[in-house]
């Protein structure tokens, strides 16, 4: 289990560059979001649709940033490594309801435990939180890679950022 913390580009500015909507609280980001010059250069992981439903079913405040008729291509990787889309949280979440970080990880973990039973303890999951940590749009990326059981460590590490 490892969580890597890195600086990330200003998501609000990049959303504007790509002509996408700024979410009120949280949204899934497409692949290549940070390096794309246009939306055409982005792709959605096939798993994005599943995670959207998981979060919607858990009544989490997920917003769409891409209009329906502009959705990027979907890419499916047939590996057993579970790679999930990055989840972006706005400053309003970071500054307000930190419980959303936990509820998100909890909902994803509960789904993965049911849908991908792992008696041999072989599955690994990759998931990132991208968090806007101030009003000016500064963002940090927290990347988790490890067992499904360890997913709850991802929101846990955000508490230490809050305490800094």
């Amino acid at each position: 289990m490892a969580i890597e913390q890195t600086d990330y580009l200003n998501v609000a500015e990049q959303l504007s560059t790509l002509g996408l909507k700024l979410p009120r609280q949280m949204a899934l980001l497409p692949e290549h979001f940070d390096i794309a010059k246009s939306l055409d250069e982005c792709q959605h992981l096939v798993e994005a649709a599943t995670i959207k439903t998981v979060l919607r079913n858990a009544s989490l405040p997920l917003d769409e940033i891409v209009e329906k008729n502009r959705r990027p291509l979907l890419i499916q990787n047939n590996s057993f490594e579970i790679v999930l889309p990055a989840i972006f949280f706005t400053y309003s979440v970071f500054n307000g309801d930190l419980g959303i970080f936990y509820e998100t990880a909890q909902a994803v973990m509960a789904y993965l435990t049911k849908a991908y039973p792992d008696p041999a303890k072989e599955n690994t999951v990759k998931m990132s939180y991208i968090v806007e940590t101030n009003e000016q749009g500064k963002c940090k990326k927290f990347s988790y890679e490890g067992s499904v059981d360890g997913l709850m460590n991802l929101p846990g590490i955000l508490k230490s950022i809050d305490d800094e």
Binding site: A49, N57, L73, L74, I75, N78, S79, F80, A115, P119
Partner: protein, 234 residues
Amino acid sequence: MNKMTPFLEGFNHLAKSVENLLFVTRSKKLQKQAISDLKKIYKEAAKEKIIAIKDNNEEYANTILGCECVISALSSFIEMWLLIKDDEPDKAWDKLISAQKFTLAAIRASDGFQHLKSLFTYLRSIENNVFPPQTFLSSGMIVEEQICSICNKNYEECEHLVNLPYMGEFCYIKLGKIKLDHAAIVNNPADKRCRVISFDDGEVSRNKMTWEETPSKSHEGEGNAINAILLRAN
């Protein structure tokens, strides 16, 4: 919690007796008879599930789905041994992987099948100790459309979740218009039936499972050929 029905009693009785035949040394005659018995009870399960669906009893329908998965897992397990005994290791490998997949599916179907985790571990030990190490492949595809198998709507817009059971059926995604994007050698593929079957060493082609040699298929200046399965329909 489901009540013990006559079907479940019959299923439990058969599953118990078949467990005794999950060894390579058991007679082919008895193992073939067990497969025949499993086929019969699979048909009964299908009828039982229809009744559960008519009764709107989702918990029982999912339990029957789990029974169907167990039946398929046990059947594949025995077929694996029969194929090994018939000197058909490539086909036996596919049956082993099917047995593993159906075992995991049963665990997903209903909480009543959680004890099958030990069967899965046993099947994994057979993979590691009976068969030689394999080279697995994984493909990446560009997908234009995802349709939910449960409601036939756009998967992104419905409430169903892939791999979970709904009224006796697992949700899966029907892919519309796919294009191969890339292929890679990986340690842990989604489907272990996607693997290198044979490879050329420049002089001969060698089967990964049997180690038998056949004439090389490589052409000069084109590198060494491999024969592999990249995608399998479920």
